[in-house]
């Protein structure tokens, strides 16, 4: 007998990266003192009116286009009424009749596409915390612009759901919609899950809230699927309800507040007249989109032959991907660029060498980085020397070639200096020398090691090997 299969959909809220709120000029910032970023409009004072933030619409457009959605011809808003402490006007302004975009899709790692049913613009609610038998409201978040993306209920496992969220987040970040940071609450995700019986009948849908990380999304779904399967197996009925994920207990539990089926009393928002969405505006939003992550991933892996692991590092942020692409334009070997970004540059940034922690703080350009990598790849600088130069480049915007010279790190590839180094290496390792004289070529590596050490890493390995061999050969009478 086949098991009932999970049917999962995501509802994702992403804060748009504007300076001010959706309908008023209050700033939106994470971590401000409570109730210091509110005005008469976002705090729902009598007589206050909303006025649409044009940039919010543009960022939302980018998100909708990135998802491949079909756009609506006019921008219209609706009032959704319900009573809760975090809703200053007693209604939320959202888009019901005409969501900004419909019919898009997102590609998962597995190559499957999940349909995006809709993406629309709405305002965020205030923040409420509950303790000691009371609730406390911070109005700062009320009115922050959001896009809500709803996927079709097409995901079939906790794993896919998590992947879908990761891909969706990545797409929204690359589209420039916002920072999408789950820890800071600028990306939030609710899921809904039901089990479909082997005969195809759909089970009751359970919504799960309070998922604050990708891991939560996976774990909550895994738990809930198991819970529902268990209930079905024992003949119990699954209630259509909203549950909260409790990460400490590792379980979902029913929300205490009993909800009757919501009647939102939808009303077209009379204070925000409909505005036509003109082609020029759509074209500008489309032009502002960079190459999107999935396409980039394919290009890096197949065309540029970058390893999957390195590709993921490059796609960690749009800034990294753009830096990489810019460097590659001046480079012979994209794989080397990728490797140096993922390893040497990354560890220097982690270390905050010379106070530089992020790509946009770099005093040098991708062009310079490409030059550095070329110095290393071509062998003109040893890896160690190149690392030293890179570190120095974080301090001062000087060309790598110049630094190679001024730091005295040029490779020793030939000449009396090389000969002298090799002679000393031979003298320092009599046993190895004896082996080499005896024809055991393996001893060459040990001698090479000594020569490199004596040269501070500057001896060119191939040239050094050749010199060592020549010197030994020249010894023979």
């Amino acid at each position: 007998m086949t098991r009932p299969e999970p049917v999962i959909g995501l509802e994702v809220h992403c804060q748009l990266g504007t300076l001010s709120k959706l309908f008023c000029g209050c700033a939106h910032r994470f971590g401000a003192e409570p109730c210091t970023l509110a005005c008469e409009t976002c705090s729902g004072q009598p007589g206050a009116l909303p006025v649409l933030n044009e940039d919010a619409l543009d960022l939302a457009l980018r998100a909708a286009l990135a998802l491949g959605c079909e756009l609506v011809p006019r921008i219209a808003f609706d009032r959704k009424h319900y009573s809760y402490c975090d809703l200053p006007k007693g209604f939320q302004v959202t888009q019901a009749r005409m969501p900004l975009g419909t019919g898009g899709s997102i590609e998962l790692d597995s190559g499957c596409r999940v349909r995006i049913e809709r993406i629309h613009i709405e305002e965020d609610a205030a923040k409420s915390v509950h303790r000691a038998g009371a609730s406390f409201i911070d109005i700062n978040r009320a009115g922050v612009p959001l896009v809500e993306c709803v996927t079709a209920p097409e995901l079939g496992s906790a794993h896919d759901a998590r992947d879908c969220l990761v891909r969706l987040r990545e797409l929204l970040v690359f589209a420039g919609a916002g920072e999408c940071d789950m820890e800071r609450g600028s990306l939030r995700c609710d899921v809904n899950v039901s089990l479909r019986a082997p005969d195809g009948t759909a089970g009751a849908r359970v919504e799960i809230k309070n998922l604050n990380s990708f891991a939560h999304v996976h774990d909550a779904l895994a738990h809930e699927i198991a819970r529902q399967r268990g209930m079905l197996a024992s003949g119990a009925t699954i209630a259509r309800e909203t549950r909260l994920w409790d990460p400490e207990r590792g379980e979902t539990r029913a929300m205490r507040e009993k909800e009757s089926a919501a009647d939102y009393r939808w009303l077209p928002e009379p204070d925000l007249p409909e505005v036509a969405l003109d082609r020029a505006r759509i074209a500008r939003a489309a032009a502002a989109l960079p190459e999107l992550p999935m396409a980039r991933r394919r290009r890096y892996r197949t065309e540029l032959r970058i390893d999957p692991e390195l590709t993921e590092v490059l796609l960690e942020s749009p800034a990294k991907a753009e830096f990489f692409d810019a460097a590659v334009r001046h480079a012979r070997d994209p794989r080397a660029i990728a490797s140096w970004m993922a390893n040497e540059l990354r560890s220097l940034l982690r270390e905050r060498a010379h106070g530089v922690a992020t790509l946009d703080e770099l005093p040098f350009k991708p062009f310079d980085f490409a030059e550095l990598v070329e110095l290393a790849s071509s062998g003109r600088a040893s890896r160690t020397a190149a690392r030293t130069i890179l570190r120095e480049m974080l301090r001062t915007p000087r060309a790598p070639r110049e630094l190679l010279r001024t730091l005295g790190l040029e490779r020793i590839e030939e000449g009396p200096e090389l000969d002298e180094l090799c002679r000393r290496a031979l003298e320092a390792r009599p046993a190895a020398l004896a082996d080499l004289r005896a024809g055991k070529l393996r001893a060459l590596e040990a001698l090479l090691g000594a020569a490199l050490a004596l040269s501070g890493g500057r001896a060119h390995p191939d040239a050094a090997r050749a010199t060592l061999v020549r010197l030994v050969q020249e010894e023979r009478p």
Binding site: S20, E54, H130, G133, S135, P273
Partner: protein, 99 residues
């Protein structure tokens, strides 16, 4: 057994979150019914091919540029609030009693 008109009224009162005194219910229910009956004259009109008119503002003003404007001082924002604690509005428990 509540009258259907009273049931309608009570549902509306629940949705609208207005606590009614028991003695007002019959009169309000009557008012609701009488008013709806008067409005029912609209159902006789043929509006099949007529689009709803939701707003008179047909050439609306532009939206706002994305610039930050000063917010209210917290003191002024919360001046009219019944209860404030730690710079936040303190309101009755939204989670409905004992946790």
């Amino acid at each position: 057994m509540p009258h259907p008109a009273e049931e309608r009224l009570l549902r509306a009162a629940e949705l609208a979150r207005i606590a009614l005194e028991p003695h007002e219910v019959p009169a309000l229910a009557r008012d609701l019914e009488r008013t709806l009956a008067a409005w029912a004259s609209l159902s006789a009109l043929d509006v099949e091919h007529v689009e709803p008119l939701w707003s008179l503002a047909e050439s609306p003003g532009p939206g706002r540029a994305d610039r930050v404007a000063p917010s209210l001082e917290r003191g002024e924002l919360l001046a009219g609030a019944a209860e404030v604690e730690d710079g936040m509005l303190r309101v009755p428990d939204a989670l409905g009693g004992a946790r």
